[in-house]
């Protein structure tokens, strides 16, 4: 036992010595002393209040990054930076610029660092960051409800129709669910990677996104099979609802962020399009419980699980969440969707028997699922 501890401890001690040597002796400084400072920065959050633009700037570099001057719409502006110089590694600086920004118009921000480099950001459509009061919370919750729970519940209404269906038809519907979820997975990965790309290099947003995806899939697979059997029926429906719910959390964050910084073009048909698109998510949840007799409260629970995270996401999203956290949420959402695709796929496999899983109804179902999602996405 004593020698095991010694051999495990030895690499740790040697590593500590190497790090200490590099820090004290600094042999690499000769390579870099002539090099100009490396600076990287990303504007993570934008907050607009009347007469004021506030930015959270994530900075990273070989030396502390100093925001020396600020331009709004190519004009120098008085501003305050807190702190004056952010830390060399992953520093965070808050910049407050008094500016009479104009509702609904674009504003271009350029921050100049001490080296004369520019960190730029465009506020595409200026809208005040919502101040969370009772009334605005209610409004945002309504938006979230409309994005998530309402369409899912609407889709669940189709459940009675599935009860008397033949086996090939049920296989078709299960495959349809796989198609729907595959579309959501691709969509979530796309959105997650887009957010991850906006984070600063050292945070490795893209890697973090994939890790979150993989870990979530593995954890949920393990949870689902904790009793030694693959989830079916209500349990499988619950996992599907959870996966869609986590996806909707990320989607809600994005919607909230867009609400806070995005367009306010009023178009009712877009709302209709979005609702149609998300109704298909409800159908997907209903398929595994076609043969069961769930209670009303269980239906409500499934709709809530799939839909309510969108409310939370929307409210949080308006408060300008950093792209890293949105990417993490999308990673978790994508992982949950992948788990469900695996489980529904496994269910189809078990029901169809070996060699049957790529039967015509299954292939048609997957294709139809992808097609429906794509077509309804066009409405959004």
């Amino acid at each position: 036992m004593g020698s095991t501890r010694f051999w495990l401890g030895l690499p740790v001690v040697v590593l500590a010595l190497i790090v200490a040597l590099l820090l004290l002796w600094r042999p690499l400084d000769r390579l870099t002393q002539e090099a100009p400072p490396v600076e990287e920065a990303a504007i993570e959050r934008v907050n607009l209040t009347p007469g004021m633009i506030s930015l959270d700037v994530r900075t990273d570099g070989s030396k502390p990054v100093v925001i020396a001057q600020a331009q709004v719409d190519t004009a120098y502006r008085v501003f305050t930076a807190t702190p004056l110089a952010s830390g060399a590694r992953l520093g965070l600086t808050r910049i407050d610029i008094p500016y009479p920004w104009i509702e609904g118009e674009a504003h271009h921000i350029a921050l100049l660092t001490a080296t004369g480099a520019i960190i730029d950001h465009t506020i595409e459509v200026a809208t005040a960051t919502p101040i969370l009061s009772g009334a605005s919370l209610g409004l945002l919750a309504a938006v979230g409800l409309l994005l998530g729970a309402v369409p899912v519940a609407t889709g669940l209404l189709a459940w009675p129709a599935m009860r008397s269906l033949s086996r090939p038809t049920m296989n078709f519907l299960l495959a349809l669910t796989v198609g729907l979820l595959a579309f959501l997975l691709i969509d979530t990965i796309g959105e997650g990677l887009e957010e991850a790309a906006e984070t600063i290099g050292r945070l490795r947003g893209t890697v973090l996104f994939w890790v979150m995806l993989a870990v979530t899939t593995l954890v949920l697979l393990a949870m689902g099979r904790a009793k030694g059997v693959a989830p079916e029926g209500l349990r499988l429906a619950t996992f599907i609802a959870l996966g869609i719910g986590l996806h909707n959390l990320g989607e809600g964050l994005a919607v909230g962020a867009a609400l806070a910084t995005g367009s306010a073009a009023l178009a009712t048909f877009l709302v209709i399009g979005f609702t149609i698109h998300n109704v298909t998510e409800g159908i997907g949840i209903a398929v595994p419980i076609a043969d069961e007799r769930p209670k009303f409260m269980q239906f409500a629970g499934l709709a809530a699980l799939a839909g309510f995270p969108a409310i939370v996401g929307t409210v949080l999203g308006t408060q300008a969440v950093s792209p890293l956290w949105i990417a993490v949420c999308f990673g978790v959402g994508a992982g949950a969707i992948l788990q469900v695709i695996i489980e529904v796929g496994a269910l189809i496999l078990r029901r169809s028997g070996p060699g049957q899983w790529l039967s015509t109804p299954v292939a048609a179902g997957v294709t139809a699922g992808l097609g429906i999602m794509y077509a309804t996405a066009l409405l959004v």
Binding site: E40, A41, A42, P50, G51, A68, Q69, A70, Q71, A75, Y76, R77, V78, F79, P98, Y99, P100, W101, E103, L112, A114, T115, G116, A117, I118, I119, D120, T122, E124, T127, A128, P130, I131, S133, A135, S136, L139, L140, L147, D187, E191, E198, I200, E251, A254, V255, A257, A258, L259, T261, G262, S263, A264, A265, A267, T268, L270, V271, T314, V380
Partner: protein, 356 residues
């Protein structure tokens, strides 16, 4: 640098945002919308359009308020043929300076200042400029004047390698408000990093009997000239991130230098401005004076104005001229002058006269 999101292409998030915003705005005007209506002018400090902090002129080695009034007449002697000889020594160096508060610019300079020294001479003199290149790149002095090809500063010995030197010899002609600048390649980089200066040739009154009073008033050191308040303004700009677009527009190198600390003008004495545009990357620059009109001598090569009674003048790069105006009938106060490209003005080319 990250931070800019693409403006093109399909973006589901934007669509979602539209949906959400549409939904949010449907039932009632939310708190947010009410708050936006209150978003008015901040009213900070002349609208808050300025840079934050102070430039350390001492460390830079030059001060725009001193450059304004500083004419370098060199060393004068008489040649054996009786002709007046004027000599200067100019050294080019690598010169990092604070172009705006807190922002360092890796520039090049003549004699440690940007713009370089304002060389002032009189029409007909022989000029000898010893140029020493102490910078790490080849440089030259290319004069906007009438001179031989071998003195042109574009190639041969007149283009000077690091550590080398060359003596430019030329005649002071024609009279006017001119400039010199480095003509090494790449030209854009060599100019905008700071290698330029003003070159003034005063008219010799004896050669212009038809307008000898006007010539007299332009001749430095004459009693007629002493009545004038003469200053040098070089309109320049700096591209601090080297993307071929300027971040700062200035007069004599420091943005807003005469904004907080106005140029003091005695109202009884006329004002003459030797104005040069050396702005790189932008095709034109301009000057607009508030609440006054001026006469303008394009290139300064005439003794009668080329434009009379104007309040704005536009110039391409290397164009220059002389502004003459008077505040004698004005009430004392702060009078603005700036580029009438609003963008340049708001990026630093914004100034004040304080008429007393």
């Amino acid at each position: 640098m990250t931070g800019t999101r693409s403006l093109t292409g399909f973006d589901r998030r934007k669509f979602l945002g539209r949906v959400a915003a549409a939904t949010a705005l449907l039932p009632a005007v939310g708190d947010a919308a009410l708050a936006q209506q209150a978003s008015g002018h901040a009213g900070h400090d002349q609208g808050g359009n300025r840079v934050v902090g102070e430039v350390d002129h001492a460390t830079n080695g030059f001060d725009p308020h001193k450059i304004l009034w500083d004419f370098d007449v060199g060393t004068v002697s008489t040649q054996s043929d009786g002709r007046q000889l004027r000599e200067w020594t100019i050294t080019a160096i690598d010169h990092e300076f604070e172009v705006a508060p807190g922002i360092k610019f890796a520039g090049w300079s003549y004699n440690g200042r940007v713009p370089g020294p304002t060389l002032r001479c009189t029409e007909g003199e022989r000029l000898r400029i010893r140029f020493i290149n102490s910078s790490s790149h080849p440089h030259s002095m290319h004069f906007h004047s009438i001179h031989p090809a071998r003195m042109d500063g574009v190639s041969g010995p007149s283009l000077v390698a690091p550590g080398g030197e060359f003596t430019y010899e030329l005649d002071a002609k024609p009279f006017g408000c001119h400039l010199y600048h480095c003509h090494a390649i790449p030209l854009k980089r060599h100019i905008h990093k700071g290698l330029y200066g003003v070159f003034i040739v005063d008219p010799d009154p004896t050669r212009h009997p038809e307008a000898s009073l006007q010539a007299e008033s332009r001749l430095m050191g004459s009693p007629e000239n002493a009545k004038w308040q003469e200053m040098v303004m070089v309109m320049n700009a700096f591209d601090t991130n080297f993307d071929d677009e300027n971040e700062f527009y200035c007069v004599n190198s420091i943005p807003f230098a005469y904004f907080d600390k106005p140029i003091r003008i005695e109202k009884e004495r006329p004002v003459r401005i030797y104005l040069v545009n050396i702005t790189e990357f932008d095709p034109i620059n301009s000057v607009h004076v508030h609440a006054n009109f001026f006469d303008f001598y394009d290139h300064g090569t005439t003794l009668t104005p080329t434009h009379r009674t104007i309040d704005t003048v536009m110039m391409c790069q290397a164009q220059r001229g002389i502004i003459e105006m008077s505040f004698a009938d004005h009430e004392p106060g702060i009078y603005m002058f700036h580029a009438h490209q609003s963008e340049f003005a708001e990026l630093g080319w914004m100034s004040h006269f304080e008429v007393v």
